[in-house]
């Protein structure tokens, strides 16, 4: 199981899902309409490292973070 957390304005509690790669995570998240609308504009981190490939392999206990558009300052 991996943990998916939704940062900032997504305003959703973390979920635990079964996934071997980020492609699996994408497939699962697309099934929730509330989350699907955020995916296009979200960056992704695995265990607090930014990633940009869907074939990143996941292991039990990994943490995936979805980061929506930012505006500091």
């Amino acid at each position: 199981m991996v943990k998916v957390e939704f940062l900032g304005p997504i305003g959703k509690e973390p979920i635990e899902i079964d996934a071997k790669t980020l492609a699996d995570v994408a497939e699962i998240l697309k099934q929730d309409p509330e989350i699907k609308v955020w995916l296009e504009n979200c960056a992704v981190a695995v265990n607090d490292t930014m990633v940009n490939r869907l074939d990143v392999e996941l292991k039990d206990g990994d943490k995936i973070s979805l980061l929506p558009p930012v505006c500091g300052g």
Binding site: A23, C42, D48, N52, R53, P68, P69, V70, G72, G73
Partner: protein, 148 residues
């Protein structure tokens, strides 16, 4: 490390702290930026969420980059509500000569706006509304919406 304030930054105390910590280390230039909440669009405050682990990583990347130029970087940001006319963001760069500091301040603040994991909300009538239109997708956004 980024200094995180709960609510507004005490700018007087912060700039004084930075200046006095560094001005006798033989840096010739200190530049600083302070961002203050403007009264517009009927807001009473802005409010901020921060994801600290990635903010620290992003900040450390900049600190290392500046250290290679012999410069030192400091930054503070607010979490939670910051009323209009109070300040939510401050940073300072110290360098031997002015050029590095002047150039890097602009580059740092622009990258901060685009890539620091901080989310902004307007506070209107006590309600917290995500500032979607003013927000920027971070580098690499959209990964999970790609067709696998």
């Amino acid at each position: 490390m980024v200094l995180i304030y709960q609510g507004p930054i005490d700018v007087d105390q912060l700039l004084s702290r930075w200046y006095n910590a560094e001005h006798n280390r033989n840096y010739g230039a200190m530049v600083s930026f302070v961002g203050t909440v403007r009264e517009e669009g009927g807001i009473e405050a802005l409010s901020f969420d921060i994801y600290r682990p990635l903010l620290e990583q992003w900040f450390d990347g900049w600190k290392t980059k500046l250290a290679k130029e012999g410069a030192l970087l400091a930054m503070a940001h607010s979490e939670g509500d910051v009323p209009v006319h109070k300040s939510s963001f401050a940073c300072a760069i110290f360098s031997r000569k002015r050029r590095v500091a002047l150039e890097m301040l602009d580059a740092f603040v622009e990258d901060f706006k685009a890539n620091a994991p901080i989310w902004k909300y307007d506070v209107i009538d006590g309600e917290r509304i995500y500032a979607a239109e003013r927000s920027t997708p971070m580098a690499g956004s959209g990964l999970l919406s790609k067709e696998g």
